[in-house]
């Protein structure tokens, strides 16, 4: 097990290294110029040239790459061009909202999607099943920002149940924290619920055709027990896998949701950084996102062995 852990962690290094290289080169080829952005709208050509010099953007790309990589190896992600702050610090400031949003979304999703998926599978072919699947297809069909606007209009402006925007740290108290997270989380979870409900349905449906389900029936177990203890448990591996794949989906959703609800999270940091060509920040954020993605999939691999005793590393 320990050996496996080490090897898996080692395997993530080339992936991250490749991501790092790819992103670095991609950014250096983009036409934007952070110096022009930094100089401001009225900046003169002379000012821009001066800023390029200070940032080291005049150096040849391989040299820049070398500098960045050697700093990276020392754990230094660099300094934001804009905020004159370490990127690490910037990211840490933004972690809480995004993590909070992701977790509430995940909780909402699992609480809704798994039950309806199981019910749909159990009652498959009925109108209930069709409704559930209809909803899930609809969930795939509406862009996340439209969902956001409609929810804000209804629940924040008409019914006044939730604030329009903003984020409160957990340190400011749990209620204000969760109160501001509910709408964005629901917005974000719509597509996610659709995905997980479908996968749950499909996996449970497949498991329901397995021999051991027949054995469970042959043992005279009540349907509920068969469904939850035998079917869902065995269907868990693909469901968990899709939750992991969904993290990528979540990340793209976060970018938009954070904009619509004005949540100061990593998604917005990224868009701001990309639009402003804040190279160190973009590089770091994408590296972090990729790292998280790899890590989550790694954790999911680990949960496999808890969910399924056949899987051992």
């Amino acid at each position: 097990m320990y050996g496996f852990l080490m090897r898996r962690l080692a395997a993530t290094i080339p992936v991250l290294g490749m991501v790092a290289l790819f992103v670095f080169l991609l950014l250096r080829m983009t036409p934007g110029d952070p110096a022009a952005v930094l100089a401001g709208d009225n900046g003169t050509p002379q000012q821009i040239a001066e800023i390029r010099e200070t940032l080291g953007l005049n150096k040849p790309i391989p040299v820049q790459l070398g500098i960045w990589f050697s700093n990276l190896l020392q754990g230094d992600l660099g300094q934001s061009y804009f905020f004159k702050k370490d990127v690490t610090e910037l990211i840490l400031l933004r972690v809480e909202p995004t993590v909070a949003l992701a977790i509430t979304t995940l909780v909402i999703t699992v609480l809704i999607a798994v039950p309806i998926g199981v019910i749909a599978a159990y009652r498959h072919g009925t109108w209930l099943d069709r409704c559930v699947m209809g909803f899930s297809v609809l969930g795939f069909s509406v862009p996340v920002f439209v969902v956001g606007y409609i929810l804000i209009y209804l629940f924040a402006m008409q019914f006044k149940m939730f604030p329009v925007q903003g984020y409160k740290e957990l340190a400011d108290g749990f209620f204000p924290f969760i109160h501001r997270l509910i709408l964005p989380s629901i917005t974000l979870s719509v597509i996610y619920i659709a995905l997980i409900a479908r996968i749950t349905r499909a996996s449970v449906l497949e498991v329901l055709g397995e021999d051991y389900i027949r054995t469970a029936h042959a043992k005279g177990l009540p349907n509920r027990v068969v469904l939850l203890r035998h079917a869902l448990r065995n269907a868990a591996v693909p469901i968990v896998t899709v939750i992991g794949i969904g993290v990528a989906l979540l990340i793209s959703g976060v970018v938009v949701t954070e904009s619509v609800y004005n949540i100061p999270g990593l998604g917005r940091l990224t868009v701001d950084a990309v639009l402003g060509r804040d190279y160190p920040t973009i590089q770091a954020v994408i590296l972090v996102f990729s790292g998280v993605y790899v890590l989550i999939n790694f954790l999911i691999d680990l949960t496999y062995s808890f969910l399924d005793p056949r899987i051992r590393y």
């Binding site: 397995e210 469970a216 448990r233 065995n234 005793p309």
Partner: protein, 544 residues
Amino acid sequence: MSMDTDTALTVSGLTVELPKGTDRRHAIEEIDLHVGRREILCLVGESGSGKSVTAHSVMGLLPKDQLTAVAGSIRLEGEELRHATEDRLRDLRCTRMSMIFQEPMTALNPVMSCGRQIDEVLQTHTSLDQQARTAKILDIMEQVRLPDPRRLFSSYPHQLSGGQRQRIMIAMALVLDPVLLIADEPTTALDVTTQAQILELIKDLQERHDTGVLFITHDFGVVAEIADRVAVMQWGRIVEQGTTEQVLKRPDHPYTKMLISSVPSLVPRHRETRRAAPVVLRTEELAMTYSQGGMFQSKRSVVAAQDVNIEIRRGETLGIVGESGSGKTTVARCIARLIDPTGGRIYIDDDEIARVSVGQMRSHRRRIQIVFQDPYRSLNPRRMVGASIIEGPMNFGQPRDEALARARELMGLVQLDPDALDRYPHQFSGGQRQRLCIARALAMEPELLIADEAVSALDVSVQAQVMDLLDDIRIQLDLAMLFITHDLRVAAQVCDRLAVMSAGKVVEYGDAAEIFANPSHEYTRALFSVAPGRDWTFGEFLTD
């Protein structure tokens, strides 16, 4: 009909309807049978005969939307089950009637420990406390002769051997002393040694617990070992029913007769030996070690075969027999170069092919052809069978017309309609497909034909025909044949020489007749001693 107290199950006039649009209206029709307590009734039939449907009807486990029992009655100790509520059926399951299945691996929940799976039965049907339940479970595990019950209690199915898993199933089925045990081909997936043990166990427990057993099988060897009475099914009907002695020795129905006489004999056929013919295939210290893992995984290696030295002469059949995992299929695949052996040499005539590159191998391909076990997966379902047969010759430059003409000839040779070349594989039965595979192999005009369990998946009547066909072809075309099988009866009928494999090694090698008569290796002897029905000679009927 015996008294109710002695009868576990009575089925009368049971008819199960198939969904509309099928070519047959009923899956089973007017089934009458009864199983007494302390009695084992074997239900025998080929695939599609309806024996599984019968068993599932009794348990109330028929797929709801597809199959429905429309007539007749099912009585368990006199209680009518056909109209029983779902709740009542659930109460009866595992308490009064239990069922065990063919594949113990898939029939057990892989993510739940064995102990818990038995425990669920007690939790559902009894009000015993945890301690009493555990005691009861350990006791039944002891009874089914599981070693170290405490350890296995918390083990998961995949950590057990096939035999142990089936014992867990049996323990689960019998823990509450049901009056009826339905065993649906419980030993088919097991190796012959394990099979013998399980059969003995079922017999033993059934006697001790006064259980009636409905035992479903296609194997007359097993019938001979275990049955008190036998019912033979064909096309959804019971065609003959009687005591074992009666049915096996004095069958009435022609179908029964045909079935029984198709069972290959354990006594090798007399065959001419061809010691002078040239050697077609020779292996020297052939070895195959599978290694898993790559850059980021630890290496694990499994020795599948080692030190395999065999040779086959023209016109001769060499059989390799052994239980699953013995390495017999690995040897066949190495020789066909479907996998690259990790050691040793393979000579076809005098050309070494174990080491040649993929490109060079291609020119040798046509000399070695292989027929696989599963007739349903051996033909590309999307291509017409004609295209499959002429693919090889055309690869080697034969013009299409010529290849097609040859294919028609071959169809005749394998006793199929030459006009069927433009059909798709799903339009053929399993036996026909296997013939097609043989035709495809022969189209290449090989020197060596490998049959890798080529008749194992076939029903016994079809099996006999295909075996005959293979033998005819070997003689007609003077082929060398490598015949891989786990079935000693089959081996006895087709092989001139025999190699017995165990744990990757050839433990005994020589003339088939000699080995059957005087097995010298301990493993061979053990293997022979557990062959089901070894004390019976099938197909020699007594007439009254």
